[in-house]
């Protein structure tokens, strides 16, 4: 075989491969677990040499806007989309997503944690596969609790949390008793405050979609939050979101932090956290009314109805959210780095339990959240830390800005609640929910 024949042969094979290879485009966010997935895709392409993967990584809000534009106009730019538990029920209802009914015989959809599976299903069909799931819980400094003579119960009340935060602050002037979200946004402070409000017996709307910000439960929630943050929270807390509080906690500046369970792997990572070996975990607080202040979220992979490459897309979703992927991450990067919160079998795995001391509390928190019955009183909507209606993104952010202003002292709690009630009433009227 001479050189020319070799080159011609190689070119022909390359051409045949290029002609045969099907490229699918995946839209995602730049979270650690997603970045890790991109690095590990050689495993997928080795098993599926006829499928080529193109990644589009975007900032969360831009991603949401881009995929919404694409899916609503059937633009067909993406074959797999990373979306959350907020979008899935709304988009499934609009027939914008394909049901995931062809994920393969060994996928074992029954292994998906029931609360997460419910949040990603509509009419009994799974419309998105969870890549990683989360609830929220309390991360606290065991050393500071011991120093102040406090003992954190596994399932504390808000009253205890308030007292503990103030005592830690008093005993350690350099440390904030508690760090909570204050940055405005439906996925920022309103995720935390809506979940907290559930535990205080509040709800966004009554059964007739009438806004409920004029009810005493919301006033109790917001009064408690603003007072607690003023007494024991960090300065400028109205600008703090997940990342700002993460940095504060890692630097040892928070006695407690109530936020996403996924943060546990960050605060317990000795490479980045100065308090890695001093962190304890507890369920989100309650007020004894039967609901805890924890949420439920899952970054999930869904396939838009407009895709021309549904089969290849389902193969990819099956690979990325299947049991095999968890084993792959564990073998390459250790069990502590496995994407959490999606499969029951992971939490029964002794190796994972050993590598992730927060595993049991994470699972208990996820199981304690019920998106179909999120509140003490009945509601016409689903979603724990959000209301699964299209209007919520805009309305949630507007209310979030008002509550953030109340935290910053720019308006009173009463004014913020009154304006929130007016904004919600206007949005509900405009949406045709109420007259």
């Amino acid at each position: 075989m001479n050189l020319r024949t070799l080159i011609l042969g190689a070119s022909a094979s390359l051409f045949a491969f290029a002609a045969h290879a099907e490229a699918i485009t995946i839209a995602t966010v730049n979270n650690g677990d997603m970045v890790r997935m991109q690095k590990l895709t050689d495993d997928f392409t080795a098993k599926n040499p006829d499928i080529q993967l193109n990644w589009v990584t975007l900032e969360e809000n831009v991603l949401r806007e881009r995929v919404t534009t694409d899916i609503a106009t059937k633009g067909g730019q993406y074959d797999v989309m990373t979306i959350g538990t907020y979008e899935v029920p709304i988009w499934a209802k609009q027939s914008w997503l394909l049901p995931l009914d062809n994920l393969g015989a060994d996928y074992d959809a029954d292994d998906i944690i029931p609360a997460i599976r419910n949040g990603l299903s509509a009419d009994g069909k799974l419309y998105a596969a969870p890549f990683y799931g989360e609830s929220s819980f309390i991360m606290y400094r065991k050393d500071l609790f011991e120093k102040s003579g406090l003992t954190m119960p596994d399932a504390p009340t808000w009253e205890f949390i308030g007292e503990a935060a103030r005592k830690i602050k008093a005993d350690n002037p350099d440390v904030n008793g508690i760090c909570l979200r204050g940055k405005a946004g439906w996925g920022e402070n309103m995720a935390f405050l809506t979940a907290t409000a559930n535990s205080f017996g509040a709800r966004w709307f009554d059964e007739q979609w009438k806004p409920q910000f004029d009810q005493p439960e919301w006033k109790n929630t917001l009064d408690f939050y603003v007072k607690l943050m003023n007494d024991a929270g960090p300065q400028g807390a109205s600008s703090n979101g997940f990342n700002e509080n993460l940095a504060l906690f890692q630097q040892g500046k928070c006695g407690m932090w109530i936020d996403a369970t996924v943060a546990a792997s960050f605060v317990s990572d000795p490479k980045n956290s100065t308090v890695a070996d001093k962190v304890g975990y507890a369920l989100a607080p309650d007020t004894g009314l039967g609901k805890r202040g924890n949420w439920l979220w899952a970054w999930s992979l869904a396939i838009p109805a407009g895709t021309q490459k549904a089969e290849a897309a389902q193969k990819f979703v099956s690979w990325a959210t299947g049991k095999g992927y968890l084993d792959l991450v564990a073998s390459k990067e250790g069990w502590a780095n496995v994407p959490p919160g999606t499969r029951t079998s992971l939490y029964n795995n002794p190796e994972y339990q050993k590598a992730a001391p927060f595993a049991k509390m994470t699972l208990d928190s996820i199981n304690a959240a019920d998106p179909t019955k999120p509140t003490v009183k009945p509601v016409p909507y689903t979603g724990v830390q959000f209301v699964a209606i299209p209007e919520f993104q805009g309305l949630g952010t507007t209310v979030g800005q008002l509550f953030s202003a109340a935290l910053a002292g720019q308006m009173s709690v009463d004014d913020a609640l009154k304006q929130a009630q007016d904004a919600a009433s206007a949005a509900m009227q405009e949406g045709g929910y109420i007259q």
Binding site: T25, A27, V56, E65, Q77
Partner: protein, 274 residues
């Protein structure tokens, strides 16, 4: 005495110019400083002295193919600028040398299109791009960038052309020059500084455009603006990585601006009121 006053005046003006220049440059400088910090340092608060780590650059390089985005930025900014000049030179020529009663209105109308919020036309444009198969294509984005910068290009060229005495063109016509010859051999050489500065400014505007370049692309045509946007993270610290990505994205245009600053300033002040 007069000399002393002049010197003092000069010192004040120079100091003021330096302060203004530093204020304008400071956000870029702080981005560069932050890119040499660790993620923990970056989020800790204001600090002008970084630890000097280059880990963010290493991570950014490992995570994304910088050169693919860079190449797209070059093609889109240069391509859209050439397209804009091809349309704007004849347009500005006709308005500068053969004005009608409506010329001023046309110019104002063109400028008014810049005042419209881009998001207001996102859906119509997106649908047009979808139906014509231009989504995620370089040619589609080049046309888009050309269109959004065209009013500024026409206005700048119009201002430069107005400075050129009409008598020179008349003399050329007397010598038998055709319209084409008049534009190529008489007008263009005289307007080179103006055209060059318009070109440079348009390249910078197209390079920095982020609304459409992020929304109309996915992978093939995505430029450096999309590269930067991919480093923001809702759950995880990202300021140092984002700063490193921004520094890598602005470096080429910053270097180009530095080397062509004389040309840029001369061109920008060419049509100024005298």
């Amino acid at each position: 005495m007069a000399r002393a006053v002049t010197t003092q005046h000069k010192t004040i003006v120079t100091a003021a110019a330096w302060i203004v220049a530093l204020l304008i440059f400071f956000p870029i400088l702080y981005t560069i400083i932050t890119s040499f910090k660790s993620e923990q340092e970056a989020i800790q608060g204001f600090n002008l002295i970084p630890s000097g780590t280059t880990e963010s650059y290493a991570e950014v390089q490992a995570q994304s193919g910088y050169f693919h985005f860079f190449l797209n930025s070059v093609i889109l900014s240069v391509g859209s600028t050439i397209l804009a000049l091809i349309i704007a030179i004849p347009a500005a020529w006709s308005m500068a040398f053969s004005p009608t009663r409506r010329t001023k209105d046309v110019l104002m109308w063109m400028l008014s299109t810049k005042m419209m919020p881009a998001v207001a036309v996102l859906f119509p444009i997106y649908l047009i791009f979808r139906d014509t198969g231009l989504l995620d294509s370089r040619i589609g984005l080049m046309i888009m960038l050309m269109l959004i910068n065209l009013p500024i290009v026409v206005w700048m060229l119009y201002t430069y052309f107005r400075e050129i005495p009409g008598e020179i063109l008349e003399a050329a016509r007397m010598d038998g020059a055709s319209l084409w010859n008049e534009i190529i051999y008489v007008l263009t050489p005289m307007a080179v500084p103006g055209i060059a500065s318009t070109m440079l400014l348009n390249i910078i505007l197209a390079w920095n455009e982020a609304f459409w370049t992020i929304r109309l692309t996915t992978t093939e045509a995505a430029p450096l603006t999309a590269f930067i946007s991919s480093f923001s993270s809702p759950q995880g610290l990202f300021w140092a990585k984002l700063s490193a990505a921004s520094t890598l994205a602005i470096a080429p245009i910053l270097i180009m601006g530095w080397f062509s600053q004389k040309q840029l300033v001369r061109g920008l002040t060419f049509g100024a009121v005298k």
